[in-house]
Amino acid sequence: MEQSETITIDGVGPMPVVRPATAAEVADVVRRCAADGTAVYPVGGGTMLDYGLPPARPGVAVELRALDRVIDFPARDMTITVEAGITVARLAEITRAEGLHLPIDVPDPDRATLGGAIACNVSGPRRYGYGTFRDYVLGITTINDRGELVSAGGRVVKNVAGYDLMKLHTGALGTLGVITQVTLRLRPVAEYEGRIEFTCYDTDSMVQALEVLHSSETKPAMIWAEIGRGDHIAKRWWTVRIRYETNKDAVEWQLEQIQKELTAAGVKYSGVEFARSPDAGVRPGQRSSDLKFVFGTGLRPSGLASISHWGWNNEAVLSIWGSGYVWGSYHITDPGRWNESIVTESQAKTILSELTDMAAEYDGNVIIKRCPPEWKKSLPVWGRPPADLALQKAVKRALDPNNIFNPGRFVTDAF
């Protein structure tokens, strides 16, 4: 792999890249940076570098991909301890060999590192059935602002000794330390998987399908609805994908049952397709390399109806996860195909303002996942300030008083 000597993060750079091979070397780098107040930007596979606000000041990028060892894999205990730089794909390969997996869908798994995915709290449509990283990180080791190796949690599946720093680092965007090692809870790979996919040509039908799923007797592992576009007679439609992961009897029963329930409720759906084991999966694949305007919000599931209508009416490319998470995106340059919408910076601002109000009604906050760095000066990258902002700032001050980790980038820097 090409190892460039410098990196530009969200328009700030070039900054030197260091590639420590061990946690001790990471500690050494952090200690040296801490001594003269140099900012430390932890980097994994580099798939989410433009997430958050641009860096406040130049510093050193600490790339962790060389920390990719498996420390302990007691498969019969269904846990694994690995270094944080391991890629998500490599982790999946190792665990699958023992019939186990981490059931969190991470885009670009060949590049994305586990530590980076945890820091960004990446999740996917299977969060409906399996939850998020919050539910899987049992232990964590980080390098703190003093360059010390500090750990919390442990290697067993149940443990309440000490504060749960695993929760604190999950989604913290590396602002409280550099994650070097984690212990994960794993799940057995389901004996059998089945997926049903169908099309709804109007938003009302799709929303009705979500309602059926909410009260369904079936237990989906994944509910995922997306606006599709094309050059067909119908220019747009909703594709709904539902996946069941358990044993063969239960999967087959559920595939039958959900169709009965949809039909009984009078949902208009068509183009039903099935896929079955061994891997019936459609998982979110590569992150598009096109520069886009991408936003996301987690809200109460009852808000999905309003947002779906909004997205349809505003020609957004919308992706809905049944647990209540919504992704939206627009192109910012003409992709040269189909009929996809393009937005300008000022249009993006209007869109966000409308959407933010709507999401707030359902306790959601709209966050920008991607946009050109220069837009970030005027757009609300982190949405609205959280109610506990002052406390979050106190936590940051307590654990990184000199603000050396990812300065300028996080929620606590935005308000």
Partner: protein, 478 residues
């Protein structure tokens, strides 16, 4: 330490809460001198019973003004001294804050006050097809607030997760008296997941006054099985094999012969008294495929030499089986005047080893140790039977406990799976964590509780406050 009743404190608390909201009489305070960890006792100066978050905030501000420590308390079922009022001060009893503010079935959350009893919440939800999944054995008494403080577990957390997995947000009165809300019903916090660290902080970050809990649908079908074993090894090997086979049962509980005797005498379930161990194995989910999964579990038991394995014959038998398990501790009162319960965790494959180890400890210290525990999680609850009037026995109990927990650490486990550190296990923190780890945690505590006035001397051996209690003696707890 002598509980000094400062007049201004009591007077001003009375004016805040009314005379019915404050207890100061020594006879009444005696109830609050300890929780279910009865070996460490200390009376609070006063017990206050607020009914609103604003009252809690006012109490906390008053404590700051008068420089008095304070500690929140739910039902007082902590097995680790989590609510012990170290250094006296004000105990903030939350048992009168028991409103359920909202139940939202569509979005699967409820907003409850901390004093709501765990089982009452589940009973409220059951007719609608939902429950609050954490089900500690104390659930008939323990509060949701207390469950959140200790990040409580229970038999069914094996499949459904511990308390933190079911808490979406909290309203907390911080130690400076400000009221803050973290998280919320949508479950995706913006910024740091403070809810995730407040849960399990054992009340050292402030006083939680409202909790957004996740509602979990009741499983449509359940199969509960009973396995009778002639040897402990067969039972623990069965447990390891079930987990290793990739089955996640709803619950997997073990009861050994010592406990079995007491439970049988109390509840007359019909357990064979010569069995060395009994496993309660439960699978739940959709009706479709469930019998096959139950059969797989029973087949694994058969492969590991089970004497007899069968399904519960009826719902009544299933209920009785769970009663035996959840009230096992109560039944033990028949066997000894004092009990010391431990809460160790080991990797699940180490269970056979741990059970052997405990037999050695039993012999070495000439004590009787029963075992009833969450086998599927590797969370052991050895119960040491003794007589607390005999000083030599007490010494042996403490030494035996230490040996057992040290062995849990050596096996790569922990000294507490669900009860918390409290004051009981302070000595073990330096064995689990390095000085840098502990310092990092204390720095975090400083962000919430800089003066250390809230729940002083809990969780960390060096957590400040005016410590003046005896060596943290490990647990004479029921």
């Amino acid at each position: 330490m002598a509980a000094v009743v400062t007049d201004p404190l009591t007077t001003r608390l009375r004016s805040l809460l009314g005379s019915g909201g404050v207890i100061t009489a020594p006879s009444e305070l005696a109830v609050y001198e300890c929780d279910a960890f009865t070996i460490a006792k200390n009376r609070p100066s006063v017990v206050a019973f607020p009914t609103t978050a604003e009252q809690v905030a006012a109490i906390v501000k008053l404590c700051n003004e008068l420089d008095v420590p304070f500690v929140p308390r739910g039902a007082g079922t902590s097995l680790a001294g989590g609510t012990l009022p170290v250094g006296g001060g004000v105990m903030i009893a939350l048992t009168r804050m028991k409103k359920v503010h909202e139940v939202n079935l569509r979005d699967r959350y409820a907003i409850v006050e901390p004093g709501v009893v765990n089982l009452q919440l589940t009973n409220l939800l059951k007719p609608h097809g939902y429950h609050f999944a954490p089900d500690p054995s104390s659930q008939g008494a323990s509060t949701v607030g207390g469950n959140a403080a200790t990040n409580a577990g229970g038999p069914h957390t094996l499949k459904y997760g511990v308390t933190v997995d079911h808490v979406l947000g909290v309203e907390i009165v911080l130690p400076d008296g400000s009221i803050v809300r973290t998280g919320g019903p949508a479950g995706d916090p913006t910024g740091y997941d403070l809810t995730g660290v407040i849960v399990g902080a054992e009340g050292t970050f402030g006083v939680v006054t409202k909790i957004w809990v996740r509602l979990t649908p009741l499983p449509p079908a359940v199969r509960t099985m009973l396995g009778i074993f002639n040897s402990i090894d067969d039972a623990t090997n069965t447990i390891s094999a079930i987990i290793a086979a990739g089955i996640i049962p709803a619950a997997l509980e073990m009861i050994d012969n010592t406990i079995l005797q007491a439970v049988e005498a109390a509840f007359h379930f019909g357990f064979p008294l010569d069995a060395e161990a009994v496993l309660i194995m439960e699978v739940d989910g959709l009706e479709a495929g469930l019998d096959r999964e139950a059969e797989r579990v029973m087949e694994i038991a058969r492969q590991h030499g089970v004497r007899e394995v069968r399904q519960a014959k009826s719902e009544a038998e299933r209920v009785l089986l769970w009663k035996c398990r959840k009230q096992a501790f109560g039944a033990l009162g028949r066997l000894a005047s004092s009990l010391c319960t431990q809460d160790g965790v080991v990797p699940r494959t180490k269970l056979p080893h741990m059970l052997h180890f405990m037999r050695e400890v039993e012999k070495k210290y000439r004590l009787r140790i029963g075992n009833v525990f969450h086998a599927g999680d590797g969370n052991i609850h050895p119960v040491i039977l003794f007589d607390e009037r005999d000083a030599d026995q007490v010494r042996r109990v403490l030494e035996a406990s230490t040996e057992i927990l040290d062995e849990c650490i050596r096996c790569g486990g922990s000294v507490t799976g669900e009860h918390g550190i409290g004051v009981e296990k302070l000595d073990f923190m330096p064995k689990l964590f390095t000085p840098a780890d502990l310092e990092q945690m204390l720095r975090l505590r400083g962000a919430f509780n800089p003066e250390g006035r809230c729940s002083p001397s809990k969780m960390f051996p060096t957590a400040g406050g005016c410590i003046e209690h005896t060596r943290p003696a490990r647990g004479v707890a029921v």
